[in-house]
């Protein structure tokens, strides 16, 4: 065996956020699950979206009575965008939860924390790497989905980014997906299991957030509106809802604040727990 002391230059500075960030960026892009989740999201947000638009709007357009045509015109953005986007968010949930739960599932977390034992730095790096990835992937998906959908229905319905509320929905959807990814990262850090983390996210989005809609009275309305994904997805509403508890941007802000609180809890427990 040859000697180990080779070309390693002396250390400069301290292992910190910059190195951890590079590490997390490599991690997230060097496993297939990330790539597959992004491909699946693109398939849904752009591909399936186009297909649905064709069948729902284009094919039977001439057979629809004028009032139906007017309704479609009115809700065109809903048709081409909001529906598929609410499905694509599950791909984001997978990426977010797996960003940390896969480390617990495989034992990689112990290697990670040996190389960087300052756990707050590790979590911060994960937040930044995942956030950066989603800030690129999110808008590519949302603007891509919108533009493809728009061109498919162009002969029947005209809709443009400059129409009232459209740009806010399309750009806001990218931000919503980014916050959602971080929300799922926090949840994955707290729960530490892939299946448990995904089940919690899906349970929250599909079940609990709908059930709170059944709560009676004013407080019920507020509880429902402040449920994390309910609040966040306000940004996907093109038209103002009368008497809504939260405006679109308020809703996204509430979701971001709730995510920040959840990340703080994740940070606190990550620092305290044995791995």
């Amino acid at each position: 065996m040859t000697t180990l002391t080779m070309s390693l230059p002396p250390a400069r500075g301290r292992a910190g956020l910059k190195g951890a960030l590079g590490s997390e960026w490599t991690k997230i892009l060097s496993v297939r699950s990330t790539i597959w989740s992004i491909v699946a999201m693109a398939g849904i947000a752009i591909g399936l979206n186009a297909l649905i638009n064709y069948f729902a709007i284009v094919r039977d357009w001439d057979r629809n009575p004028p009032d139906v045509q007017a309704a479609i015109q009115q809700n065109a953005l809903e048709y081409i965008f909001s529906g598929p986007m609410s499905i694509a968010q599950f791909g984001v949930a997978v990426i977010g939860v797996l960003a940390i739960s896969s480390e617990y599932a495989t034992g990689m977390i112990r290697s990670t924390l040996q190389s960087q034992p300052r756990r707050g730095v590790v979590l911060a790096a994960k937040v930044l790497a995942l956030g950066a990835l989603m800030l690129v992937v999110g808008p590519v998906l949302t603007f891509g989905g919108f533009l493809v959908g728009k061109s498919i229905i162009a002969d029947q319905v005209s809709i443009s980014l400059s129409d009232e509320g459209v740009l806010r929905v399309v750009a806001g959807a990218g931000l919503y997906l980014t916050v959602l990814a971080l929300f799922c990262l926090a949840l994955g850090t707290l729960i530490r299991h892939t299946a448990g983390g995904l089940a919690s996210v899906l349970g929250l989005i599909l079940l609990i957030s709908n059930l709170t809609g059944l709560l009676p009275g004013t407080w019920g309305k507020y509880v429902n509106a402040y449920m994390p994904t309910n609040a966040g997805s306000q940004i996907l509403e093109r038209y103002a809802i009368p008497n809504a508890a939260l405006s679109p941007w308020q809703g996204l802000g509430v979701f971001a604040a709730e995510t920040a609180v959840l990340l703080l809890a994740a940070w606190y427990l990550l620092r305290r727990r044995d791995v």
Binding site: M1, T2, T3, L4, T5, M6, S7, L8, P9, A11, R12, G13, R14, A15, K18, G19, A20, G22, S23, T26, K27, S30, V31, R32, S33, S102, E103, T106, G107, M108, I109, R110, S111, T112, L113, Q114, S115, Q116, P117, R118, R272, D274, V275
Partner: protein
Amino acid sequence: MIEATGLTKRYGDKLAVDNISFTIKPGQVTGFLGPNGAGKSTTMRMILGLDAPTAGRVTIDGRHFAELANPMREVGALLDAKAIHGGRSAYNHLWCLAQTNNLPRRRVDEVIDLVGLRTVARKRSKGFSLGMGQRLGIAAALLGDPKILMFDEPVNGLDPEGILWIRNLMKNLSAEGRTVFVSSHLMSEMENTADHLIVIGRGRIMADCTVSAFIEANSDLAVRVRTPEGVRLHQLAVARGARVRPGGDQTLHISGLGLDAIGDLAFDNGVRLHELAPMQASLEAAFMELTRDSIEFEAIAPTRTETR
């Protein structure tokens, strides 16, 4: 130098490590020996800050692990060869770790060559054999060219070639002046590699000494004698204060009297000897002796129910 003082770890009502103190000196191989469940891995995890001690503290050159400026340059550890994301290639795994301590990319290539994983470096580690996984873990430990290396049961499940490779690696690492701390439940492994021993049983330190001192203190150094006049020699030796056990086939095991003294005794009294040899007391036997009462999951003899 690793220093532990009053280190204690409790999981629920189970005391895994019970108020242990030790010092691991640089430049030698220190073996950390104990039966399964004795607290070896827990102790190593506390050194690395993965588990927080319930009480006491452990430092590396006076500092807690999390305070080290560049941990990978100070301590390299292989605790568990499975601490790897199987979907990531060996190269990317190492590159992920290297970046955290600002190590250059070419260092990844160097350690890959060093452990002999070049041909599979771009393959996903999911398909690696145990031996390859172990090599990858060692590559990760060596990335930062650390002063201290820790290996937890490194030869477990390896084939003879792999075992030899790890033994030589540990010897070379300590010859380069590094501190090597290696755990095992196999005494024979320590005999081959360690200079110093820390023996742990049920979370407590049972011995902290050199390997030879450990053997000496914990086993009778005996001499094997083969003679047709066993009865006479037996009486003569006992008269000199030695302990004698018959070994069968005309042999006696004599302890408490040196090799030369027994030879002289026989010569002086005209006792014919056919064999006179030292018995190498094995570390294994000494270890068994010492930890007999501290094995956590000892097989329990079935309870006798006597009816009369």
